[in-house]
C-alpha cells in the first residue's frame, strides 16, 4: 500500500561543507543517510529521519541541517497536521499509534506559572558560597513525636526507634527506567552518578543486573506487575523497594518489551526465556484493592526484615488524594506521584496525551489531604513526571514534596534529544536500546560524569534560590507554599495549589 504519510523532516546537506566522511551514515540507526559511490555524494531518505540530531551533532563540518517539512496540510485549528497524520498511519497499519517520552502537549505545565520569593530588607538573604546551605533529605516514615532523655555525661539520647530512612544529599533521585527499555551502560551511569552524588537510582521493573549489585546502597529496586527479576537477593540488594502501581505516561495500562529486545543478559536479569516478549499486566494481579496493597507492602517488609522503606508509586489521576491517603494507611513509607507529563519507553500516544493529571495539582492535593488527615508525617511524598529544571524541583518541594524523581532530564544529560522514538529500540544516542552496536555509544564513565554534573548544577542552583529566600535548610522549603505565588491562574487553580496570586 502506498503510504500517504509525508516525511516530518527534511535533511539538508551543504555539499560544499560535506567531506564524504560518512559519519552520518554510521551514526544514523534509522538508515536515513547513504553514500553514492558512483557520484561520490551523500544522500538522505527524509522519510526515515526522526530529528534526533545525532548526525548533525557528530558531523565534523556541520554540513547537516534538519528542518521541519514545510509541506503542511491546509492550516486548521482542529484538523492539525498531527491529527491527520495519526489517522493516515492508523488506516495503513490498523494499529495503536505508539510514542515515547512524556506528553508533548502545551498548557499542562503549572511550574512556569508559579514564581518563587526572595528576601528584601526585612530579612537577609544568605550567600551559599560563604555559608552553610543544607539540602540533605530523609525519605521514610516519621513519628509524630520523639522520646529523648538527657543522660548525665552522655548528653541527649534517643529512646524512640525510627522507621528506616533513605539519606539523600540532594532531593533529586533518578526515576524508574527498566533494564531493557534502556541499556546496561545507562544503568551503570545512573548507578555510579547516584552513588557519587549521595542519592538513589531506581531499577525500574526489569531487575538489577548482577554487576550493579555493588551499588545497592544507592539503588531503589522496583516490584512491578510483571515481577521481572524479583527474588530475595534482589530485594536485599536495594536500599528501598518501590511497588509500581502506575506510571504517569500510561496510567492504567501495562507494558510490553518486545522479544527482540530480550537479549541474553536481559533474559537472565528479568528471569524470562531468551527472545520472549516481556508483558507487564495492567494491574498487579495480586492487588485488586487497597487491602491487597497492604499485604504486598508487608510481605516485602517481612522479606527484608523491616530494614528498608517501601514506596508505592501511582500515576497522578483524578482521585490521587484519596488513593494516597489509603496508601499511607496501608503502611507505605513513601508515596510516589507520577504526573501526566512523565516519560515512558513506549506507550500508546492516545493514553500518554489524554490520561492522568499534571503533577503540580496531584502533589498539592495529596500533600494537603495527608495534612488534613494528620498523617503527612507517616510517609514521604515524592513527585515525578515533568521536572525540567532546578526551579521545578524547588517549586515541587515548596508545594509539599520531600524529593523528586527525574528520568527524562537524566537521559537528556546523556544525549537524549526527546525525539520520542524510544519504542523503536533504535535510539541513535545509545540510550533506549539494547542493540550492542548502539549501546556502546554510552560510555559509563562519561555518562556518570554527565549525570553527576547535572545533579551538582541543579543542587547549586537550588542553594542559590534558597539563599535568596533567606532559608538555609531544605526542610524549611518543604510544604512552605508561602514561598510561591501564582501568575495567570484561576482562583480555583490557586485554591487547589494552596498558593496566593502574585501581588497578594
Amino acid at each position: 500500500m502506498k503510504s500517504y504519510v509525508t516525511p516530518e523532516y527534511i535533511v539538508e546537506r551543504d555539499q560544499d561543507r560535506c567531506i564524504r566522511c560518512k559519519v552520518c551514515v554510521n551514526q544514523c540507526s534509522y538508515d536515513t543517510h547513504y553514500y553514492d559511490e558512483e557520484d561520490d555524494i551523500l544522500h538522505s531518505r527524509n522519510e526515515n529521519c526522526v530529528n534526533c540530531q545525532r548526525c548533525a551533532t557528530f558531523c565534523p563540518t556541520q554540513a547537516i541541517t534538519i528542518r521541519e517539512n514545510p509541506n503542511h496540510y491546509r492550516s486548521n485549528a482542529n484538523w492539525t497536521q498531527e491529527a491527520i497524520t495519526s489517522i493516515k498511519k492508523q488506516a495503513e497499519t490498523g494499529g495503536v499509534v505508539l510514542t515515547g517520552m512524556g506528553c508533548d502537549k502545551p498548557n499542562l505545565t503549572y511550574w512556569d506559572r508559579l514564581l518563587l520569593n526572595a528576601s528584601q530588607v526585612t530579612n537577609p538573604s544568605i550567600d551559599p558560597l560563604r555559608e552553610a546551605m543544607e539540602l540533605r533529605t530523609y525519605i521514610g516514615s516519621k513519628p509524630d513525636k520523639l522520646e529523648l532523655e538527657m543522660e548525665e555525661g552522655n548528653g541527649v539520647v534517643l529512646k524512640t526507634k525510627l522507621a528506616p530512612q533513605l539519606q539523600l544529599e540532594t532531593p533529586i533521585m533518578f526515576s524508574a527506567m527498566s533494564y531493557g527499555s534502556i541499556s546496561l551502560n545507562v544503568h551503570k551511569s545512573l548507578a555510579r552518578a547516584a552513588s557519587e552524588a549521595g542519592t538513589f537510582y531506581n531499577t525500574g521493573e526489569g531487575g538489577l543486573e548482577k554487576s550493579l549489585y555493588k551499588y545497592g546502597d544507592h539503588v531503589i529496586v522496583q516490584v512491578a506487575s510483571g515481577r521481572f527479576g524479583v527474588h530475595p537477593d534482589y530485594l536485599d540488594a536495594g536500599a528501598a523497594i518501590e511497588i509500581k502501581i502506575g506510571q504517569g505516561a500510561k496510567p492504567g495500562i501495562g507494558g510490553h518489551l518486545p522479544g527482540e529486545k530480550v537479549s541474553e543478559e536481559i533474559s537472565r536479569t528479568r528471569m524470562i526465556p531468551l527472545g520472549t516478549d516481556a508483558l507487564s499486566p495492567a494491574p498487579q494481579h495480586d492487588i485488586y484493592s487497597i487491602e491487597d496493597l497492604r499485604q504486598l507492602i508487608y510481605a516485602l517488609k517481612e522479606a527484608t526484615d523491616y530494614t528498608k522503606p517501601v514506596f508505592v508509586k501511582i500515576a497522578a489521576v483524578h482521585n490521587s488524594a484519596a488513593i494516597a491517603s489509603g496508601i499511607v494507611r496501608a503502611g507505605a513509607d513513601a508515596v510516589v506521584l507520577d504526573g501526566v507529563r512523565g516519560g515512558t519507553g513506549a506507550a500508546p500516544r492516545i493514553i500518554r496525551d489524554n490520561v492522568g493529571i499534571p503533577i503540580e495539582m496531584a502533589l498539592a492535593a495529596v500533600d494537603q489531604r495527608l495534612r488534613d488527615e494528620g498523617i503527612r508525617n507517616q510517609a514521604s511524598v515524592i513527585a515525578a513526571g515533568g521536572i525540567k529544571s532546578s526551579a521545578d524541583v524547588l517549586k515541587a518541594i515548596a508545594l509539599g514534596a520531600d524529593a523528586v524523581y527525574i528520568a527524562t532530564a537524566a537521559l537528556v544529560s546523556l544525549g537524549c534529544t526527546v525525539c520520542q522514538k524510544c519504542y523503536t529500540g533504535k535510539c541513535p544516542w545509545g540510550i533506549a536500546t539494547t542493540d550492542l552496536w548502539l549501546t556502546k555509544r554510552i560510555n559509563p564513565d562519561i555518562g556518570a560524569k554527565r549525570l553527576a554534573g547535572l545533579l551538582r548544577g541543579w543542587s547549586l542552583e537550588i542553594m542559590e534560590m534558597m539563599g535568596g529566600m533567606g532559608i538555609n535548610a531544605i526542610e524549611s522549603v518543604r510544604g512552605n507554599r508561602l514561598l510561591l505565588r501564582g501568575v495567570g491562574l484561576t482562583d480555583k487553580e490557586l485554591e487547589i495549589l494552596g498558593v496566593r496570586m502574585v501581588g497578594e
Binding site: 513519628p143 541527649v156 532559608i471
Partner: protein, 372 residues
C-alpha cells in the same frame, strides 16, 4: 476604609513583618523588683521600635491570687464585654474583677481593658486538665465575637501591651507600681500591622509568653505542621507560631527546653556528624522528625513561663542577643547598652552563639549553653 486599629494584619499579608527590641530581666532567687529598671532598659532601645507596639510580661505580680488564673481582656466595645462576661460566669468562678487601672499616656486608641481572677468551674471541666480547659476557652473568646481578646491568661503573671512606645505603654498601665521576679519587654517596629493592641508583644497563652524579634522565613510550613496538631493560626503572625511550637513540644510532648532549642534552631548536619554517636543519632532524629518546626530566618526570642526565662536565636544568629549576669540577676537584651544602663558593673556578659539557648531558672541558677 478599613479600621486599621481593630485587626491584626489588616492587609492580609502572609505574615507580620517587623523588627524589634527585646529585654528580659530575672531575679534567680525569685525576689520581686519593680518595673523601673526594665522600663528604662527597653526605653534605651527606643530607635529599634517605631511606636506601633510595646509590651511587658511580668511574673510574680499577683501574690494574693497566685493560684488563680488572671485573665486580662481587651474589648473593642461594651457589647463584646457583655457577651464575654456571660461566657466567663458560665464557665468560671470569678473571684474578683476590675477595670485595669490606667492613666493618660502617649498611647493610641486604647480599648477597654478588664482584669479577672478566675477558677474553672469543677462541674464543667470534667476530666479535662485545667490548662486545656483554659486554652479552649481562650480560643473561644478570641474567635467568638471578634471584638474580645484575652491577652493574658496565666497564674500570678500578667501581660501589659499596646500601641505606643514601650515606655508609654508602661506609663499607661502604671507599671512601676507592680513588682515581679521576672520581666520581659518588647518594643516593636512593624511594617504591616499598623496598630492593633492585640498584635503587640508579648504573646501569651496560659503562663507562657513570647517576645520575638525577627521574621520567620519558614512560617508557611511551621504553620501547616502545627495545624496538623489542631492549632489554629488565626493571627497570621510568626510569633503565634513560635508560641504554639513551644506549647506542642514542651507542654504536650514533654520535651525539655534544651531539646526544643535544638528543634527550633538545630545544629548543621556537619556539626551533628562531629558529635558522639548516641548524640548524633538523637540530633539526626530530631531534624528528621521535627524538620517542619525548624524556624528558619532571623529571630531572637525570649520565652518565659513560671520560674524560667529562655533566650534563643536562630542557628546562624541573624538577630542580636546579649546575655549578662550580675549577682542574682540574669539579663537578656538586644543590645548590651540597655543592660549596662541598669547595671553598669556586670559579673559576666556574653553573646550566646546561634541556636544555643540561655536558660534562667529559679533556684537552680543555671545559665547553660550546650546539651551535646
Amino acid at each position: 476604609m478599613k479600621d486599621l486599629t481593630k485587626t491584626n494584619n489588616p492587609y492580609g499579608d502572609e505574615k507580620v513583618f517587623d523588627a524589634c527590641s527585646i529585654f528580659g530581666m530575672m531575679n534567680l532567687k525569685g525576689e520581686r523588683f519593680s518595673a523601673k529598671d526594665p522600663i528604662r532598659a527597653i526605653a534605651n532601645m527606643h530607635d529599634r521600635g517605631n511606636g506601633l507596639g510595646g509590651g511587658f510580661a511580668a511574673y510574680g505580680i499577683y501574690p494574693d491570687y497566685k493560684d488563680d488564673y488572671a485573665f486580662q481582656i481587651m474589648y473593642l466595645d461594651r457589647e463584646a464585654k457583655k457577651k464575654t462576661d456571660r461566657l466567663l460566669s458560665e464557665c468560671f468562678n470569678i473571684l474578683s474583677e476590675e477595670e485595669m487601672p490606667t492613666q493618660e499616656a502617649n498611647v493610641r486608641d486604647p480599648p477597654i481593658m478588664w482584669r479577672y481572677f478566675l477558677q474553672p468551674k469543677k462541674s464543667k471541666t470534667k476530666s479535662q486538665a485545667d490548662d486545656d480547659y483554659i486554652l479552649e476557652k481562650v480560643m473561644r473568646i478570641n474567635t467568638e465575637t471578634g471584638k474580645a481578646f484575652v491577652f493574658s491568661s496565666g497564674k500570678n503573671m500578667g501581660v501589659f501591651k499596646g500601641v505606643g512606645f514601650p515606655e508609654d505603654v508602661a506609663e499607661y498601665f502604671y507599671l512601676e507600681e507592680y513588682k515581679g521576679y521576672m520581666w520581659t519587654c518588647h518594643g516593636r517596629f512593624p511594617t504591616n500591622t499598623p496598630g492593633w493592641w492585640g498584635g503587640a508583644h508579648p504573646f501569651n497563652i496560659l503562663d507562657w509568653t513570647v517576645v520575638h524579634n525577627g521574621e520567620i522565613s519558614s512560617y508557611g510550613i511551621n504553620k501547616r505542621y502545627l495545624e496538623m496538631f489542631g492549632y489554629k493560626c488565626t493571627m497570621q503572625t510568626d510569633t503565634e507560631v513560635m508560641a504554639y511550637a513551644f506549647d506542642l513540644l514542651m507542654r504536650r510532648q514533654g520535651l525539655s527546653i534544651e531539646i526544643v532549642s535544638k528543634i527550633l534552631a538545630p545544629p548543621l548536619w556537619t556539626e551533628i556528624k562531629a558529635m558522639k554517636p548516641e548524640n548524633e543519632l538523637a540530633l539526626r532524629a530530631l531534624r528528621q522528625t521535627y524538620g517542619s518546626l525548624l524556624m528558619n530566618g532571623p529571630f531572637t526570642i525570649v520565652v518565659a513561663h513560671e520560674g524560667e526565662m529562655i533566650g534563643l536565636t536562630d542557628r546562624i544568629k541573624l538577630r542580636p542577643l546579649t546575655a549578662a549576669e550580675k549577682g542574682d540577676y540574669l539579663f537578656l537584651s538586644s543590645e548590651e547598652s540597655a543592660i549596662r544602663l541598669v547595671s553598669p558593673m556586670l559579673d559576666r556578659v556574653w553573646s550566646p552563639r546561634g541556636g544555643e539557648p540561655v536558660i534562667g531558672r529559679l533556684e537552680s541558677r543555671r545559665a547553660v549553653e550546650v546539651i551535646a
